[in-house]
């Protein structure tokens, strides 16, 4: 049972994630934009950040990760994106990312990664 902040602008993807993560016993809050995500994080204080890279505003998921890691350098950040892996790595090179999950990603795999993230935290 953990607090998970989901930052994703694909509405249907968020729908599936929320269903699955809630069923797994987690508390989920989601935002489609970087700005909202950063604002929400201040009150929600997530245990894990699960973020996409391209979002609905000009700032991307990398900006959200940067902002949250500045506040809490130990926060496990899981990046999921449809971009090719080298491109994801290029865009997050300067950040301490826990794991990159290239889309399409299976929910069962995501559950394992979240488990590992919580174990290290």
């Amino acid at each position: 049972m953990a607090r998970i902040l989901v930052v994703e602008d694909e509405e249907n993807c968020v729908r599936a994630l929320e269903y699955f993560l809630t069923l797994a016993g987690h508390q989920v809050v989601s935002a489609p934009r970087a700005r909202e995500a950063i604002e929400l994080a201040a009150g929600f204080r997530p245990d894990v950040l699960l973020t996409d890279l391209f979002l609905a505003d000009e700032k991307g998921g990398a900006e959200v990760a940067r902002a949250l890691l500045t506040e809490d350098p130990d926060l496990p950040v899981i990046v999921m994106s449809g971009l090719p892996v080298p491109e994801i790595e290029r865009r997050t090179a300067d950040l301490a990312i826990f794991r990159v999950c290239p889309k399409p990603v299976r929910l069962s795999h995501l559950a394992e990664v979240i488990g590992e993230a919580l174990a290290t935290a």
């Binding site: 694909e10 599936a16 269903y19 391209f54 700032k59 449809g82 889309k103 399409p104 990603v105």
Partner: protein, 440 residues
């Protein structure tokens, strides 16, 4: 001056003093006039050399001396070059170099103050330089020319008969040198300006090249396609997995129905995206013919208007008459312009926006500017705005292919497209297309 036509001898010492004072005042006024005149020609002059030459002439004429010179400190600071002069033997001006240590000029440079020599033969502050002894120089004075960047050189006058230089004479020579300083400082600023303009032009050209190479690369396109396909596939996968879970738990019949309709919807999205990618990469028809850009703009505007629906945008045109023809594929350039006009019309993000399409020429190129009064493009995304699949309007159905397509059509036509934008105040996309040779 005198109405008797010959000089009258002064009667008393007082009168003699008064006469001397008046002579000096008159000479001073004349000198000031000469300085003002040099200042005026310096303002009009094109380059430094004519002003240096006029300064030595003014010094010779006004002070009644046989020689004048401008020496410039050479790089390294060891030697002085005779940049301009009057009275010297032929062939010296422009080529003669004197070691700094051996000259009055060198002394003036080091002392940083005017130096006046009444009798060179009796002078022990400095060695007797060849340039002066060869010309039988007896008296002289030298002042420093000091620019903002440091000592530049000296201005000097000399005579082959013994003479005294007054305080006014020294001030006069220094005033001429000050005019030269101003001219040299101005030249330095102009050079720096030209330099930075050239640097800027180079940077813009490099930026364009880098962008075109990146956009033309298969990797950029592939990354975009991957992103656009992987996202709906991901949603299909996650939705199906969660549907299976719901099924196993034997609950949520309504949710299952919704899951399936999402799967259908996202699978269709994949199909549409593949279609758009194929359209994007299909070979463009090479048929081009000389065409009137204004006409292409007019028809693109008409077509764009139809797609704008109830967007609060007012689209107008200011088209220049007499444009030279451009060899183009009309359907393609229209398509590029429609995307740019649409993009401009959406730039208000809900607020009313004025879009103006202008045409004009610059040398042998035809210009089309699409200006909007919208929100502007944030600095952090300027570099990506032409990337295929990059969009800030995904929620509103943007695919991120419009600007990329416009970019690729314009570059295919041998043109350039650039963005100027001020956040909150609007953007201008400027297209330059080559006019048909010999028509501009």
């Amino acid at each position: 001056m005198s109405n008797s036509g010959k000089a009258t001898a002064p009667r008393t010492e007082l009168e003699a003093e008064a006469l001397e004072a008046r002579r000096e005042a008159e000479a001073h006024a004349r000198q000031q006039e000469v300085v003002v005149r040099l200042g005026l020609s310096a303002i009009r002059a094109n380059g430094v050399q004519p002003v240096l030459e006029e300064a030595v002439r003014a010094a010779v004429d006004t002070l009644g001396v046989g020689f004048a010179k401008v020496l410039e400190l050479e790089p390294g600071g060891e030697r002085l070059l005779l940049r301009a002069g009057l009275g010297w033997k032929e062939g010296l001006v422009g080529s003669a170099q004197v070691p700094v240590g051996e000259t009055q000029g060198g002394y003036a440079l080091q002392a940083e103050e005017p130096i006046v020599v009444e009798d060179l033969a009796a002078e022990d502050r400095i060695p007797r330089p060849r340039l002066l002894t060869d010309h039988g120089v007896v008296s002289g004075m030298t002042v420093l020319i000091r620019t903002k960047e440091g000592p530049w050189g000296v201005l000097g006058v000399h005579s082959d008969t013994r003479r005294t230089f007054t305080r006014n004479d020294v001030n006069f020579l220094q005033a001429l040198a000050n005019v030269l300083t101003a001219v040299l400082d101005r030249q330095a600023i102009e050079r720096r300006l030209q330099h930075s303009q050239a640097e800027l032009a180079l940077k813009v050209a490099e930026e364009r090249l880098r962008r075109s190479e990146r956009l033309a690369s298969l990797g950029t396109l592939a990354a975009g396609i991957a992103h656009e396909i992987n996202n709906p596939v991901n949603t299909i996968l996650m939705t199906s997995e969660s549907a299976l879970m719901a099924l196993e738990a034997g609950r949520d019949g309504d949710r299952l129905r919704e899951d399936l309709s999402i799967v259908v919807q996202e699978a269709e999205r994949c199909g549409v995206m593949v279609q758009k990618v194929l359209e994007f990469v299909r070979d463009r028809r090479p048929e081009r013919k000389p065409d009137d850009v204004n006409e292409v703009v007019r028809s693109a505007m008409t077509m764009a208007q139809k797609t704008l629906g109830d967007l609060p945008a007012d689209v107008g045109a200011e088209l220049a008459a007499g444009l030279p023809p451009v060899s183009l594929n009309r359907a393609e350039v229209e398509q590029a312009l429609i995307h740019l006009i649409r993009n401009a019309a959406e730039s208000g993000r809900g607020e009313a926006v004025q879009v103006t399409v202008r045409t004009g020429t610059s040398g042998d190129r035809v210009l089309v500017a699409i200006e909007d009064t919208g929100q502007g493009v944030p600095v952090e995304v300027r570099d990506q705005i032409f990337d295929p699949f990059f969009t800030t309007r995904r929620e509103k159905g943007g695919t991120g292919l419009g600007l990329s397509l416009a970019h690729s059509i314009v570059t295919d036509h041998g043109g350039t497209i650039d963005l100027e934008s001020e956040p909150g105040r609007g953007s201008t996309f400027l297209i330059e297309l080559p006019a048909v040779a010999g028509t501009a």
